[in-house]
Structure formats: C-alpha cells, structure tokens
Symmetry: C2
Subunit: 196 residues, 2 copies
C-alpha cells in the first residue's frame, strides 16, 4: 500500500516514517514553493534513511497569503498552519492509499483536527495518518535519541525543508532581517543525518 | 526499553502492539477485576502474536462505581472511561519506560486527553503512548485486514478481555439480562487469532 509522508528532513517526520515503514510502502515527499533549494536537504536525509523521495510544488499564492498573515500577526503560527493544510491537500492528490505527516501530540502548530482529517479523507478517498499524534515530547525525544543520527542548531543555520526556510526568505524579501527576526523568534531545529 | 500495553485481545490493541514493536520491548498486559476468566482469551491472542503477556488486577471498588454509573446513565460510556483511566494508573506503576493503549482517533470511548496523558506521565515518570491516536477507522480496518487474523461476532459470544465482559457480569448480578441489554446495546466485537 503506497503512502506519501510529508517530509521535512527533521526528526519528527523521520520518526513518523520509521513508524509507518512496517505497514506501508512509504515515499517521503517534501512540499516546497520553489523559493529555495532546501528540499535538497530533505532528499539527503531521505537517502540516508533509505526511503524513496519525491517533491511537490505548492501554490505560490498560498505562500504569499501566509506571509501576509505572519507579518500581520507578528508570529508564524497561523501562516504555518495555512501552508500545512495546503500541503496536505496537494499531497492527497497523489496516487496513494494514505498520506501522513509528523505532527505530534504536544505540537502547537501545525495541528490537524479530527474534523479536518476526516474531511481530507472523504474528499480525496485516502486515509490520513499522523502516527506521532499519540506520542508526547518525552517519548519522541527518547526514540529519536535511539533511532536517529541528528544535527541540531539555530534555525538560520540548519536548513530543514519544512516551509520555514522558504517563508523566512519571502519575509526577508519584503521586510529584511528585522521582519524575519520579529516573526520567527530564535529557536533550534534539527536535521536528520541517518539512522543511529 | 520496556513498554506495557493495555491489551484486550481485540484488533485495536493488537495493531497498537505491532506499531510499537520496532521501538520497544512490548509486554501485553490485560487488566481485570477477577470477575471472569476472559483474560485467558487475551493471553491466547498474545501468544499467537508472539508477545510476552501479563495481567494486573484492578480495584474491585472501581468496577462497582462504574457499574453504578452505567446503570444510572443507561449507557456504558462514562463507566468504561472511569475503568480505563484506573487501568492506566495501575499499569503505570510497573517498572517500565512507557505505557500504551489501543485508543484510536475516531473512538468515542475510552479517550485520553492530552492533559490526562501529561498528568499520567508526570506523576509516574513514564511516557504514555496511544500509537493509533492518529489513525482513523478506515486506516485501522485496512491494516487489520492485512496484518491480523480476526474473528468477529456479537459481544455476548466473542469473549474479549476489555473490561466489558466483566462489567456485563457485574450488571447481570445486579439486574439480570434485562439490565445488561439496557446498558450495552448489541454490537459486534472482534478477537485476534493471530497474524494474517
């Protein structure tokens, strides 16, 4: 059974892939807007984990709307949520039995409500899976430590492929580094280098 | 890493076991009140799947409270929820890194909220996992079809070990078959016979 997993190259979506590997033919799919080449980092992570990899291009208009929203809000939550929902819609168009992502129990964003999940399933005739929805932060950290080789650093240095890099770039074009720093507070990100 | 999974011998908790098997040393644990011997059916299912099996005895007072509540309500939901939360508390006392159950995204009962999960984790120093929390009914059905050999039938004939049989027995002692039929509408259950 073919499954497409929205993939950033980070620890959550990588762990989600390992969880589903027993049941599905998993392809890791990175969604991007054609703004940066950061999806190549996700490809490297997928290769290192031994999963097939593909990309899908998202609607640039959605990125612009998300940037408008983030600049207005002064924080990224609603913009990221909008982009994630759009990415799920696009990946659900693939010829697969199921789509999945790496959202966790304790994530604040993106989140996919039960109603959103069921709507996606009904409209596209696929199953939507969030295999880490029942895993808390502690469990994810412990499993990542055992299962994955990860590199952690500030988000401006670690080039993951989870929309954030591209959205930062679009915000930079509009308002420079200052706007980026306002919307995205400094935080660490991880990229997966391979299995532990 | 040792993990104790609350186990009924049914399809959901069996599928949960397969999901976690890659990451943990899973023991299937059936919680019971010492009312019936239905836990032996869960032991047979665990043996057929090749997992270690154990039982824990729950507080009989909780069963009586649950029965009071179910008779008062005329439906089982709140009573089952009370028993499930108690069972999680008891199994979390074991010498394990994590406890888990088979609750699914689309279950109405039992449910374990994020707050309840975090409280359980903090008080017992364990991780709580619900590996099917991100799986809808359709995905579970498709995976069960491929992975498990199951037998389905009316709940009075299929002797699973998910508290329901014992609670039915306690209700029968108080109000006879009529009371059982009032609280538990007829529905099908499944018990797992082995891997597909």
């Amino acid at each position: 059974m073919e499954l497409a997993l929205l993939y950033s190259g980070g620890k959550d979506s990588s762990l989600a892939a390992l969880t589903l590997d027993r049941f599905y033919d998993v392809t890791l799919v990175t969604a991007h807007f054609g703004v940066t080449e950061e999806f190549e980092n996700a490809r490297s992570a997928a290769d290192a984990l031994g999963f097939p990899f593909d990309t899908v291009e998202l609607d640039r208009e959605v990125a612009e709307e998300a940037v408008d929203r983030m600049l207005e809000d002064g924080y990224p939550r609603n913009g990221i949520q909008r982009v994630h929902e759009h990415a799920l819609e696009v990946v659900a168009e693939r010829d697969v039995v199921a789509v999945a992502d790496g959202t966790r129990r304790d994530d604040r964003v993106p989140t996919v409500s039960r109603a959103t999940a069921q709507s996606l399933e009904d409209r596209h005739g696929i199953d939507y899976l969030s295999p880490l929805a029942g895993f808390g932060r502690g469990a994810v950290d412990r499993l990542v430590e055992r299962e994955l080789d990860v590199e952690t650093g500030p988000s401006e240095e670690i080039a993951r492929a989870d929309y954030e890099g591209e959205l930062r770039e679009l915000i930079r074009e509009r308002g420079g580094e200052e706007a980026v720093a306002t919307v995205f507070p400094e935080h660490d990100q991880t990229i997966v280098r391979g299995l532990a």
